[in-house]
Symmetry: C2
Subunit: 748 residues, 2 copies
Amino acid sequence: MGHWDGFKGTKWRDHVNVRDFIQNNYTEYTGDDSFLEPAAPSTDKLWTKLQELFEVQHENNGVYDMDNNIPSTITSHEPGYLIKEEETIVGLQTDVPLKQAFMPFGGINMANNALKTNGYDVDEDMTKIFTEWRKTHNQGVFDAYTPEMRAARSNKIITGLPDAYGRGRIIGDYRRLALYGIDFLIAEKKKDLANVGNKVMTDDVIRLREEVSEQIKALNDIKEMATYYGFDVSQPAKNAQEAIQWTYFGYLAAIKSQNGAAMSIGRISAFLDIYIQRDLDNGVITEFEAQEMIDHLIMKLRMVKFARTPEYNELFSGYPIWATLSIAGMGVDGRSLVTKNDFRILHTLVNMGPSPEPNLTVLYSSRLPEGFRTFAARIAKESSSIQFENDDLLRANWGSDDCAIACCVSATVMGKDMQFFGARANLAKTVLYAINGGVDEITKKQVGPKFRPMTGDKLDYDEFIDRYKDMMDWLAELYVNTLNVIHYMHDKYAYEAPQLAFMDTHLKRTFATGIAGISHAADSLMAIKHGDVKVIRDEDGLAIDYVPTKEFPTYGNDSEEADAAANWILEYFMTQIKRQHTYRNSTPTTSLLTITSNVVYGKATGNTPDGRRAGKPLAPGANPSYQDGKYLGEKNGLLASLNSTARLEYQCALDGISNTQTINPNGLGKDDDTRIDNLRNVMDGYFDKGGYHLNVNVFTTDLLLDAQAHPEKYPNLTIRVSGYAVKFRDLTPEQQADVISRTAHDRM
Amino acid sequence: MGHWDGFKGTKWRDHVNVRDFIQNNYTEYTGDDSFLEPAAPSTDKLWTKLQELFEVQHENNGVYDMDNNIPSTITSHEPGYLIKEEETIVGLQTDVPLKQAFMPFGGINMANNALKTNGYDVDEDMTKIFTEWRKTHNQGVFDAYTPEMRAARSNKIITGLPDAYGRGRIIGDYRRLALYGIDFLIAEKKKDLANVGNKVMTDDVIRLREEVSEQIKALNDIKEMATYYGFDVSQPAKNAQEAIQWTYFGYLAAIKSQNGAAMSIGRISAFLDIYIQRDLDNGVITEFEAQEMIDHLIMKLRMVKFARTPEYNELFSGYPIWATLSIAGMGVDGRSLVTKNDFRILHTLVNMGPSPEPNLTVLYSSRLPEGFRTFAARIAKESSSIQFENDDLLRANWGSDDCAIACCVSATVMGKDMQFFGARANLAKTVLYAINGGVDEITKKQVGPKFRPMTGDKLDYDEFIDRYKDMMDWLAELYVNTLNVIHYMHDKYAYEAPQLAFMDTHLKRTFATGIAGISHAADSLMAIKHGDVKVIRDEDGLAIDYVPTKEFPTYGNDSEEADAAANWILEYFMTQIKRQHTYRNSTPTTSLLTITSNVVYGKATGNTPDGRRAGKPLAPGANPSYQDGKYLGEKNGLLASLNSTARLEYQCALDGISNTQTINPNGLGKDDDTRIDNLRNVMDGYFDKGGYHLNVNVFTTDLLLDAQAHPEKYPNLTIRVSGYAVKFRDLTPEQQADVISRTAHDRM
């Protein structure tokens, strides 16, 4: 059978256009989950073996084994297998399962520290090569940083900057490899190269020409890598197995050469379903075999590992790599993009149990078929392992029904967009800088500009707002320019050729910033305005504590005023972000997302005027504060909290708004069917109101307390923390405590 | 004694300002050469040893020994010595005299080819490192080149592009190391870094910040390198020996880390004389010792070697490295900058015999003291090893009396200017492209744009000029953009940190282009206009030969019309060059300079309308044609030739106008004194008329014929070829033949 036999449509044949291929060929599925098949024997064997390895890895602080002297590239390693004869989909990052590759291009220090802190030897030759001869991204960044940038970084007003490893978040459209084969893609890139620039060689033209040449080299390398596993990917995939395998090879090239924080695989579900459905229709495979291949693919994504340092693990707890896989969603023609494959992919959480990776993401709409919505709600309730994003907002704001999520909540159009990712600014801490004239409340250093501080015993709202705006102006400028340095150097020293090779040559680039502490900032504004906040100062007159003396509205309780304060901060800060020069004239966006770094950020943030205590974790992402405090906390139940979050303006936070909720099963209803129906209805309502994202946890705080006390009982307990899922036992003690302290709604 | 004891002036003390130091402290010398001392015993021993090594090197095709696995950096090698106990000035490129370092950063292919073609092993690890992990300048360039650029390069309409090795020509102001010491320079660079950019991180700001950081690293490395030789260069030099040594260490760092075509040392004569004179005045050293140290410094410059490929040697024959050292010149205050040291430096050609390196360059003016002019004329006559540049033009056009020559004829202000160097366009060949509508007359390929060709049996002048302009427009654009790619990549992959560390952070950058074949282009214009040129075509109608049937004026014979034609071409082409976008907004310049590449360029140039035969060497630089031909050649003697060259407009060729002349001793006068006086007078007149440059050879063609037949008799016969000097025996046979065929004027 020819590779394209039976496929419909024409436009996708001559030029790369995966979306057109999907739209012409996918089979919407509106039924329920009754067709699903259990795990195949091969899956059980592989998964059992993998769990043994995971156990070893867990015993060794998340490290099964590490390379120290093979700089990881697309072709650096011999082929590796879990159990070769059982695998229908093959390919590992290194030659041994779970072995972490040596990735020095982002930074030799981080690579070596990961080795040292995990008890491995540092290789002297490699250190010499990547110090004296081959400069890394990290070195480049620190060569260009200003003292102000370093101070902002070390005082943690800006945190999580990807300046020591890969920036990640770039999703290649790996489906292209399956649909077209490498040779076609190389030919297309060569055509593109011929038309990059018209005679005049500006720096931008030269840079892009070099990049496209690097992409072509990467494509050739992928062809070679595939031969190690016995495959010739020069031509399009001929069947489902090849389509899955080719797609995975594309992704594998990315994770062999980049250790970005988030290495997402994108939206592959309906695409692969087309191949599976063709094979099913032709009697070439059975549903049982289809599920087996999908299980094996997902198992590969559960195995992705990067060498990390303790500092990194503290920030992003539980070894996440954000192999985010987006499913479902609506088409612009009104059909949903739900296929049987979306069921199969969620079903992996049943066949192999819950798992943090891949970061399964449902692009949700109340118009998705009810069978799927019900199934997704059930899997969410049972696994606490999946997240939901508002597909109606995605289509409306990104102009495409082929979006995928990079990392947690960051939308990108497959093959068309790339993102310059970068960290977040702590706007709760900025409240304190505004009050103290740029002096850090923890380190007592002058970090921000020497603006006039607030000197009275009480905080005047107008005086405060004036200063807060000044300080946000300063921070936005500094932050964007810090990221400008990072992305310049990343392109220079750690360019993501294998990802970009699967994307259009002329891309839309977004410049993603991030905000931490939005709820504390908003609550502080409300406290200052309504709470008659008394200021307590240290011997140098620095404000170090605040006592609200009157009640004030807070974000997360369906208060229009408090929610408007959060929106005002978001909009004001985003406006300042937009004023800046951005690298490669990329489009600035921001997110309300902290991942698990809310703990570290909170540690570095003093007492805030809303009454939040110094050092306590910030509420993650856009979550309302759950800190104890006379006037704080979500007091009005789940729906009030969701209403507040849904009020946040997505157009001001196009990089995403993260919302993590935990619901006590009993709060959802008395029996499972009721709970599932209620959860689905809650989501329909939340997303219809404009809520952007929901991490769904369904369990009780007691369960977590038991898991904290008896981790051995819960090796696979998986929870959604903030845009991703983790195994509870892999969280740091501090983060376990934070998660436990979060609100578990026991009422709607 | 404190390092600055006895020095006058104030401005140079707080900020880097070497010129101010010189102006306040140098002692003009207006006497004759009677104070000069002969070679010291140490000099004789060292020179004898070095000549033995040179002999070995000569036997081995210019290679004494080669590294293959130590990428050369400032600190890569253990200290090396010729005869340690005899050397007053120390420091070698590698650990062994004349051993060529392994320099892969410009291009691993060129580095490996140099090894292979000289019979050395290529190191596999190095190849892997500099192919897979550490990209080189060469790879970057070829990733970004367009097919048109490659075609222009391989068809040799543009040649000598520095795209496979270092671009060179950047002169650090190494005197700064002696005057200030490393610590002060590092502190100043740190101050600069703090002020590069003001918050907004554009690509330009980021790039410069990274570069200054690299410069600071290089300065620290130089400090370390000096310790290998037992010196602490953190503080300023305390005496003459340290001043010479420190200055040389700065230069040594450059030649350890860069293999640029031209690695010049700049203008160090008056500067070092200040230290020597202070030591002489204080009775610390004698003149004999002063000459010994200068001899030893010059000997070090005679030893500089780079690993090269046969192709490179064919282009730049005789292993030149252009350790150009500029001396004399006038000050803007009317004093000359001639010191005793300018005598000492020329006197090295007596003490150690003639030598091609360093490329000794006298910045000439008829207002220099007569004693010096006479001495320089004598040394030129006796050694044929030095060149002269018009210092009056330099001061008037570069606004400084602290200029130096980079390479052959390219002016730069010490520490203030840097040059983006790049090759040359063949404007003689462009004449043929204009006639044949962009089809290459040798390869028959369409290289230029498909402009209308000339189709008749005769060449109409107006039709031709129209087409010639079109073709120059195309070539200028392509050429500049090719260089834009090269310089972008060189900054990216082979940045010259140790040179730039000794220069101002905010530099003036010139963008140097070059023109080859100016005389043949001008003569062809005259032939087409006046010579009734018949066209001979091949079977495809391509014009392949030209027969002028009438006499026409030619360039080099004091014909105002022919000289104006040369000027018109120069000005027209330069105007087109100036229209282009240049990398880093550098200031475009051009040169009339071919070095010895005139032979290779000529080989790639078909018959020209002036009657020049295909394949014959072009006249070098701005030299008039010396090819036999009914109407060609310099027929009117030396002065007519010089008059023509002097008419070329330096303001249109600020990168320099190279003119090489050979004079039969008898043509200059009957006895030595007369000859010296006449040579001096000729130069006074030539430079006063606006001539820019003169390579002076004084010998007969018979001498060269004898040297060609009996090379063993003339191991040290040195001649000026085109902006530099070579040992005659090191020229390729073709180039020996070319030099012999050049006009040796036997009359004034």
